[in-house]
């Protein structure tokens, strides 16, 4: 049976992992390749590396980093951040990325999804959606949640699928950082209305939350950052717990 996936997410700035990683047992805590390799060894099913650098120099460092990841990591990995045209994706593919994740640039220019899917295949294109609940609906936001757009979560996800997205990575801005659990109701609705895999993000605080996201939220994968980086949850423990709860994991 297809296993549910656990995906640690690493934020990269100027080639280094940020968000205060505190693994005491690795020498260079800032090195994303080392941290990625450690997660892979512990049983992570995939890795996501998000470039949050804004500078041109930082960007070049990121592409070099992707090359190192591809050389050393033997599980699939997604890279995102700063991809706004075909050429950006092409560089990352050439550096060895398995998938790319696009967010704000897809909202601003939806046909980017079509172009990427046509050129590199649907499996290469993850569309990340950050959305916030408003009195009327779930509003899609861009620029890391700072700007609200007139797009609505469910219709935008459906559009992304029809344009050729291979997966949807949904982050609820209402849940992100709260550690109170994932947006299970919305995730279930996405999962039932779309035929591509849904990666859940935002709100993971304990192991029970992952059980809920796979059962109630019907997600295909659960993504988290700080709970892994701060060693609040170790991946082997999480997988053992999920298995105990009857969830199929690798």
């Amino acid at each position: 049976m297809l296993a549910k996936r656990i995906i640690p997410c690493l934020d990269i700035k100027d080639g280094q992992t940020v968000k205060g990683v505190n693994f005491v047992n690795i020498q260079n805590v800032g090195d994303p390749v080392e941290l990625g390799a450690l997660y892979a060894e512990q049983g992570a099913d995939e890795l996501v590396f998000l470039d949050i650098t804004a500078t041109h120099e930082g960007r070049k460092t990121f592409v070099d980093l992707v090359k190192r990841i591809a050389r050393e990591i033997n599980i699939p990995f997604t890279v995102g951040g700063g991809i706004s045209e075909l050429e950006d994706a092409d560089k990352l593919l050439a550096a060895g990325a398995d998938k790319i994740s696009i967010n704000s640039s897809a909202v601003r220019n939806p046909s980017l999804i079509d172009d990427l899917a046509k050129n590199f295949g649907n499996q290469f294109v993850v569309v990340a959606i950050d959305a916030r609940k408003t009195p009327d609906h779930w509003a899609v936001t861009v620029n890391g949640g700072r700007i609200e757009t007139d797009k609505e979560l469910f219709s935008w996800a459906k559009e992304a699928e029809s344009r050729g997205a291979g997966e949807i990575l949904f982050t609820s801005m209402n849940h992100d950082g709260t550690k109170n659990g994932f947006a299970n109701e919305e995730l279930a609705q996405l999962s039932e209305s779309l035929s591509i895999p849904i990666i859940a993000s935002g709100g993971a605080g304990n192991m029970e939350h992952f059980v809920d996201v796979f059962t109630k939220g019907k997600a295909d994968a659960g993504l988290a950052a700080s709970i892994f980086h701060f060693r609040e949850i170790a991946i082997p423990d999480l997988k053992a717990y999920l298995r105990q709860q009857g969830i199929v994991v690798r």
Binding site: A3, I75, P197
Partner: protein, 202 residues
């Protein structure tokens, strides 16, 4: 040992080269027929669409080259599908090394679990029947990304179950193929690639 990775218009083939490098094996990505013919091992990777890729292989006479190879050949993902007799993707006749036909996954309504297409992620392989595998690999998880599958048949060397049981691997004589990506399947995938490199001469 010379290992050739067939170069053609098919996505990220570098990852196979990098996976071999992690095993200490230097492979060459090439479309040179002479090099491919005399290599000790040939890998036929692939991510892409079946009918356009078949057209490309025919145009560059790689189709007859591949079917004529005598050394161990390993097809990966689309490589497996193109080694079958026919694919529904673009309704195209393929290389015909394996008699199996390639069909599209159709989620069955009313199935207990929601089934998505593509089949993407880690799934287990069983009923292993090839020297590509060893007993320790039974029921281990490997990484899949595909919307089409080869039905189970006489050449099935590993079975995976998603919507329907299908061929996770095929083998006939010197031709081996995996639907999953050994190059992205962690230590289990590395082991399978190592087994392929270490196959005894037939």
């Amino acid at each position: 040992m010379e290992v050739a990775i067939i170069k053609y218009n098919a996505g990220n083939i570098m990852s196979v080269e990098l996976a071999l490098k992690r095993l200490g094996v230097n492979a060459t990505i090439t479309a040179d027929p002479d090099f491919i013919r005399r290599a000790d091992r040939v890998i036929f990777p692939g991510v892409g669409e079946a009918s356009t890729t078949m057209a490309y292989l025919r145009e560059h006479k790689l189709d007859t080259l591949i079917t004529s190879l005598k050394q161990p050949v390993l097809g990966v993902c689309l490589g497996l599908q193109l080694m079958c007799s026919h694919s529904e993707e673009g309704d195209v006749d393929c290389l015909g090394i394996f008699p199996e036909k390639v069909k599209k996954f159709v989620p069955e309504p009313g199935q207990e679990n929601i089934t998505k297409v593509p089949h993407m992620g880690w799934n287990s392989i069983s009923n292993l029947k090839s020297d590509l595998f060893d007993a320790s690999l039974e029921n281990q998880y490997v990484y899949f990304v595909h919307s089409y599958y080869a039905a189970a048949g006489d050449d099935t060397a590993a079975v995976c179950n998603y919507i329907t049981p299908f061929s996770a691997a095929l083998q006939r004589d010197n031709f081996y193929a995996t639907q999953f990506h050994p190059e992205k399947s962690g230590p289990i995938g590395a082991r399978i690639l190592e087994n392929f490199i270490n196959l005894k001469a037939r």
